[in-house]
Subunit: 414 residues, 2 copies
Amino acid sequence: MRQSQLFTKTRKDSPKDEVSKNADLLIRAGYIHKEIAGVYSFLPLGLKVLKKIEQIIRVEMNKIGGQEIEMTALQSKEIWEKTGRWDDAAIDIWFKTKLKNNTELGLGFTHEEPLTNIMRDYLRSFRDFPVYVYQFQTKFRNETRAKSGIMRGREFLMKDLYSFSRDQKEHEKFYEISKEAYMNIFDKVGIRDITYLTFASGGSFSKYSHEFQTISKSGEDTIFVDENNKIAINKEVLNDEVLNDLNIVRSTLTEHRAVEVGNIFSLGTRFSEALELFFTDEDGTKKPVVMGSYGLGPSRLMGVIAEVLSDDKGLVWPESVAPFDIHLISLGQKAEEEAVKLYDKLVKSGKEVLYDDRDMRPGEKFADSDLIGIPTRIVISDKTIEEGVFEVKNRKTGEVSKMSENDLLKMIIK
Amino acid sequence: MRQSQLFTKTRKDSPKDEVSKNADLLIRAGYIHKEIAGVYSFLPLGLKVLKKIEQIIRVEMNKIGGQEIEMTALQSKEIWEKTGRWDDAAIDIWFKTKLKNNTELGLGFTHEEPLTNIMRDYLRSFRDFPVYVYQFQTKFRNETRAKSGIMRGREFLMKDLYSFSRDQKEHEKFYEISKEAYMNIFDKVGIRDITYLTFASGGSFSKYSHEFQTISKSGEDTIFVDENNKIAINKEVLNDEVLNDLNIVRSTLTEHRAVEVGNIFSLGTRFSEALELFFTDEDGTKKPVVMGSYGLGPSRLMGVIAEVLSDDKGLVWPESVAPFDIHLISLGQKAEEEAVKLYDKLVKSGKEVLYDDRDMRPGEKFADSDLIGIPTRIVISDKTIEEGVFEVKNRKTGEVSKMSENDLLKMIIK
């Protein structure tokens, strides 16, 4: 895409009302627009990143047998009353609204209830198990404060998967598989080495739940990392019993601020019993379905990546989620012709290229490029043409090299 | 995908609370689930169809220069007050909700206001034009009645594009281009021959707006079709002046019930003036931006396709939007082995195949297949194996033929 066509522009000044680094950078680079605190629109560059993260997650969810659906934001009171989660006293983050006839509706902050209800139509026999269902869907949470940019929104995209199993054993098997899938996702988006499977508080049906926490100074959580075992314990549950359970010595732990990028939770039969999701088992008895929920927010993940991988010049996207693979910059009219040729070759080879064809000073173009954070920058100028090379810069390492077209294409197209 | 793995099942009985054909069929075939009247979840088969329609629309919007974004459902009062569209007396389909601090918020039923507001950050000079921005986003409309299934929802997916032009002439050029893009979309989803560009009421800035109306007995609108010119006039605006404008004789018109599947609208400077979206033109003067809006609901389109292309046995999807290309059915254990072989070949060749590997009676499998409506059905049974052929049925025409594997693969893979 030609940058002159892209309707967004970068801005030098930080927005006045943002305290979070991710929102500050993403707004300045033209990725997102703030509508209300905690409510952000995704502009072309931002939507591209979000969709790439979504697709990485989708691939992993499909691999472990997930079936994709899309449920609704509008929620009817009846099913949530059955689980005791309708009352604002029980759930203090509901957004509620009304039909014309005054029927109260809620805006879904999660979807255990409606999916359990849907499953009553389909899960009847032990032969129907196991089933894993997920969606990418917009959640609404009426947070009192919303100061973390897209890391904690009032309206945000969520991947929520729910598992339906015959018994605890079948459930636990998938629960372990899901951990691997999550770590694959963090690997692919470039934050695996700073993301830890973290033991957190469970519920009536399991001693622990598990969070995936990414180390970040701006994180809202405190975790204690055991680097040898590559796991962590949320401060909220850290005590001698937990250390004993995990066979960990307190002195090996290091304290960090961290952001929760995902969580997985054994729900037992809490929802299936309340909503009467029963099945007939092999022995003819009626049993409640054993459930689990598995959350991961693509927009939050995007915020975390922006927050932890950026530098003082701007965003630094890993190749897997960058809005474009290459930022091609031409300086001067003579360079334009060469740039268009290279642009065509790169696009033809399947690369996504943002071509800065704007009539601006080099310094401005470079500053924009650093702020936008595309992994590879290629500069074509009178000087490079004269030398018969292209100037290639790696956004992450800052490394600059001069390459012939042959070497460049070899490196990029692979 | 193996049908035994698909968590949805068909049902024989119509849901009691549905009067619309599309919802009846889509629910019975396991494509959607009704949450509340006018509020439907999309199950695996349904989401596949919806995503294919979305992608067809996306390709056409990108072709005409659209840049994709995603705005938010939650809307702040301030910007809507500026255009006079906040008050429930002016707009009677708002869903409204509140932040904890009692700040009122709306749930977007359209997005002229927030996008005009976003554009204030980016459109400043005549050099910035034209710009076309679109999104696929969930709209909320508090309809009093919602009895048309997914053809008219209270919560539904919408593609809304907005154009921003320097002047009326630039606007009109794109407005005409958009008509072609819309007809391309209707062509690709298989309803072009029953869909008409329809003259409807305009606003302060243009005499007419244009709807795209698809002929359907269940439609809420009445249109008068001029078959020679392939256009129609909405009953609401039919008078001598319109006939004169269009150079049409009343006697050539035929009356039909129809569903509005899309609409395009010249907005003039109504929104840009109210929200102060001005730019500096070439001559140095400050001018309001000329806007247009272009709506098309993927979920409504899916409902219309379900409604008008189905038959008494069930759904009939065009290849372009079908959840799978092929419904492969094996009858009996011996056939299973052959079916798996063929399944692997078809999948390897890039086809999407639903393989009915369930242990059920042939009649049930065939009825399910007709209800689900995948374009091509292939049956493998003891008998076909003996004959060394496959039985291939075209869901739309009902035509059945027996083919050797070679001929079958030639026909399908092309």
